[in-house]
């Protein structure tokens, strides 16, 4: 069986007709007891399992997934990776993620196709340019890379954007983060799953958590569609469905779930080799390696658990894209979908104890969960292994809503989530 991926193993397997490749992960029946059970087999859950095993030596771990791996938001996002936030706490968190992404393919021996093609946040007026300069300064102080581009530099990077004299939102410049870019979302889930499995983690798919086993007010495991599984502690990383798990576990969360829609067009010739986002319209796009344009925008207007698109937001997002790049008006859409994202009051994630002893939460990433997968997993693993925060995750403890130490990125960096 060939397990390690390399040019040599590819050549060897090629000569043998590709018959020796090992499955990416086993599909074991759940054991009775684990040290840690992670609910949710998306990027965050799988990354948590991997870092628990790799960084903390905790290998008696199960990841329990209701459907299939990466079938939720991990498979439904627009794959953008970046750390262009305002507050130091956020920059520390998201830049840890970018740094882990930079070494991830080598670390887990799986190509996650992180393409650091850069990301531009456009500024459409002189006033916005001043705020863009402020964000660039904040990012640089926080240790992330950032450049302030003027209109001409933006035009050089992306001549397809709307530089017409009659543009509704004229482009004055942009915040540019060169280390940002896009990755391959499925590969992140599969790569982490494979790497965790090789370290001994049990990945259990098609297994729905139906309740928590609470004894004397302490969580001692989970009830699932495949029976009771006891556990030392339980980590919940279920994104848009975090409130559903909270109801079962007897704790409260400050989250609203919304649908977030995304779109892919037919493949076209090379059009733009970076990611462009216009805060004015809320829309952004990049071009995939296959040539399709991957388009995203703001949240739906109404809280929802319906994992599908709808027309009011579709019109807003696509109108914004045509405003940004009028040449795209006649390009046809191939697919259109939605994932359910969990939005917190300050648009920052929640990592910490849930309020029910034995249950820990990793949620509230809103529209930005994919970019944060490595950091979310790294920090959540630290919390589960030690029962105490890593310095980077401490500011994101849910207790901040009691103390008032909010990290308001909706106001700070003007993000949509």
């Amino acid at each position: 069986m060939t397990r390690h991926y390399s040019a040599l193993s590819l050549l060897r397997e090629g000569l043998k007709g590709h018959t020796g490749w090992a499955p990416l992960w086993r599909s074991p029946a759940p054991k009775d007891t684990y040290d840690v059970v992670i609910v949710g087999g998306g990027g965050h859950g799988l990354a948590t399992a991997y870092y628990l095993a790799k960084n903390h030596g905790v290998t008696n771990v199960a990841v329990i997934e209701k459907g299939w791996l990466g079938g939720g938001n991990t498979g439904r996002n627009t794959t953008v990776i970046r750390s262009n936030y305002f507050y130091p706490e956020s920059t520390a968190l998201y830049d840890l993620s970018v740094r882990l992404y930079e070494g991830l393919s080598r670390d887990i021996n799986y190509n996650v196709m992180f393409s650091q093609r850069g990301m531009m946040v456009l500024a459409h007026s002189d006033a916005e340019m001043e705020l863009a300069a402020r964000t660039v300064n904040a990012m640089q102080l926080g240790g992330a890379d950032a450049e302030l581009l003027d209109g001409k530099e933006v035009q050089k990077k992306a001549p397809v954007l709307n530089f017409r004299d009659d543009a509704r939102y004229p482009i004055h410049g942009a915040i540019f983060q060169g280390r940002g870019g896009t990755g391959r979302h499925d590969a992140v889930a599969w790569g982490y799953a494979r790497a965790a499995d090789r370290l001994g983690v049990d990945i259990i798919q098609n297994c729905e958590v139906t309740g928590f086993l609470i004894e004397g007010g302490v969580c001692k495991g989970v009830e699932t569609s495949q029976g009771l599984i006891r556990s030392g502690s339980v980590g919940v990383a279920t994104a848009g469905h975090s409130s559903v798990l909270a109801e079962m576990g007897g704790y409260k969360l400050p989250l609203h779930s919304y649908a977030l829609q995304a779109f892919v067009t037919e493949a076209i010739k090379p059009f733009m080799d970076t990611v462009a986002f216009s805060p004015m319209t809320g829309s952004y796009f990049s071009q995939s390696d296959k040539g399709g344009l991957v388009i995203g925008g703001g949240l739906d207007r109404v809280p929802s658990y319906g994992q599908r698109g709808n027309t009011p937001t579709q019109e807003t997002v696509l109108a914004g894209i045509i405003d940004m790049a009028p040449a795209l008006a006649k390009v046809k859409l191939l697919r259109h979908w939605a994932g359910i994202v969990d939005v917190s009051p300050d648009s920052s994630p929640l990592i910490g104890p849930s309020g029910t002893e034995g249950i820990y939460i990793n949620c509230g990433w809103g529209t930005g969960g994919f970019k944060a997968i490595p950091a979310g997993g790294y920090l959540f693993a630290h919390l589960l292994a030690n029962g105490a925060h890593h310095d980077i995750s401490r500011p994101f403890d849910p207790g901040r809503f009691n103390t008032g130490h909010l990290i308001d990125e909706a106001a700070g960096s003007g993000i949509a989530h």
Binding site: S243, E247, P254, P303, Y305, F401, N402
Partner: protein
Amino acid sequence: MQQFPCPFCGLRDEREFHFAGEAGKTRPDTTKEISDADWTTYLYYCTNAKGPSREIWVHTTCQEYFVMTRDTVSMEVLSTEALNEDAA
């Protein structure tokens, strides 16, 4: 495009409506001492129900607030009613 029934105007385009919050939250009595935990619960914490959910909405064209019960998975509107003293 979906249509929502305003209790005052009848069926109207969903874009005319704005979600205001979950129904059933009561503002703590500010003439008394209120704990941080109670304020936090009132300000931030919510049920975020999957399935039937009772909510406060506003019809932006007539500016009336009302109670809408809808299914958050299917988006089906189950009922709408005017706000009155014992509602919400």
